[in-house]
């Protein structure tokens, strides 16, 4: 009986102690020791479980499942990833990999994040070249493409609901749409003209 009590208290005590030490380490350095292989595995998992947007799965894996990052850190890194060009979660992958294991860590994360989808997509490309001309396949793809267009429209609405209710952001949005979507001017020209103007306007507005 006595032995079991001691044993029981050991069991309950031990995880607490480990947890305590872990959280202390995290608040001190924010750098749990993570191997490159673990980074590779984590980002493979994120990549392969994410259909139509990886951000939700990235948060679930990095913050909730593995607790490598706090929620606050995650939002900060993702915000930065959104600000920079390229796929947002890829930017997040590079920053997280680099933070925990340097250059090779970033490479391991990117290999996991892009490697598998690359292979899947190429497999699809092979199938498409063989069977893409079939009538049934084309009908199925036409239906799916309509859904994909609907998803893009939904994204637009979702983003637009966040905008403040004054005219200036809507003007920039409309100009970008007309320039690229209607006039079909090269994106480089449109961004080169609009982006500095928009940033300047937002800067003035804050003052």
């Amino acid at each position: 009986m006595k032995a079991s009590v001691i044993f029981g208290s050991l069991i309950t005590f031990k995880p607490m102690k480990v947890l305590n030490q872990k959280t202390m380490d995290q608040t001190e350095s924010h750098k749990p020791n993570i191997s490159r292989f673990e980074l590779f595995l984590a980002f493979s998992r994120i990549s392969l479980s994410s259909f139509g947007g990886a951000i939700f799965w990235a948060r679930r894996e990095l913050v909730e499942r593995r607790s490598w990052l706090t929620n606050r850190e995650f939002v900060d890194i993702f915000t930065l990833g959104q600000l920079l060009p390229g796929p947002n979660v890829l930017n997040l992958t590079v920053i997280v990999g680099h933070r925990f294991a340097g250059w090779t860590g970033a490479a391991a994360g990117v290999a996991g994040f892009l490697g598998w989808p690359c292979l899947v997509v190429i497999g699809m490309g092979v199938l498409y070249q063989h069977y893409g001309a079939l009538v049934q396949v084309q009908q199925a793809l036409a239906g799916m493409s309509s859904v994909a267009a609907g998803l893009l429209f939904a994204t637009v609405v979702k983003l637009a609901m966040v905008l403040p209710r004054n005219w200036r952001p809507w003007l920039f949005g409309a100009l970008a749409f007309v320039g690229v979507g209607v006039m079909r001017w090269p994106l480089l020209w449109v961004m080169g003209a609009l982006a500095p103007w928009a940033v300047f306007a937002a800067w003035k507005e804050q003052e």
Partner: protein
Amino acid sequence: MDRLNLGELFLHFLVLWFLAIGGPSTIFPDIHRYVVETRHLLTNTQFAELYTLAQVAPGPNAMYVTLIGWHIAGWKGVVATTVPLLVPATTLTLLVGHLNERYPNARLGRVIRRALMPITIGLVLASATILMRAVNHDWRGYLITLVTRCGCSRAARWRACPAWSEHRFSLRKIYRR
């Protein structure tokens, strides 16, 4: 089909990926312009079908460029379209990430984010209309598009699709901050 110049393709994608602030949907119209209208490497329908296939696959949405590259020129095409994707992520991101750790809450970052959000919206809207015009030849297609668009906001409101509502929530948080 025009004679394919892979070096030019590579450079075009490299420039595009540096402009892709706000995700891979923003450069969709310009890839369409280059691949379909200027170079005639794919037909309008093929372009839409390849984009859709890549959306069905797991992984980031950006993988449609890889599929397009594969269809145009096999492995060489994959390299020409996918490697440029990595360049801004590795150079710019690490540089800015370093600056950001030094100067958190820098005002410029917040301003740029606020300023570019509307442009992103305009570009994604352009992508949506181009894709819709490429695939929808009769009213049934338009109906599917409309139903999907409405279904998404319903799903987000009812929290039926966790990924979708979560994304919407985090976006709002990011923009307001």
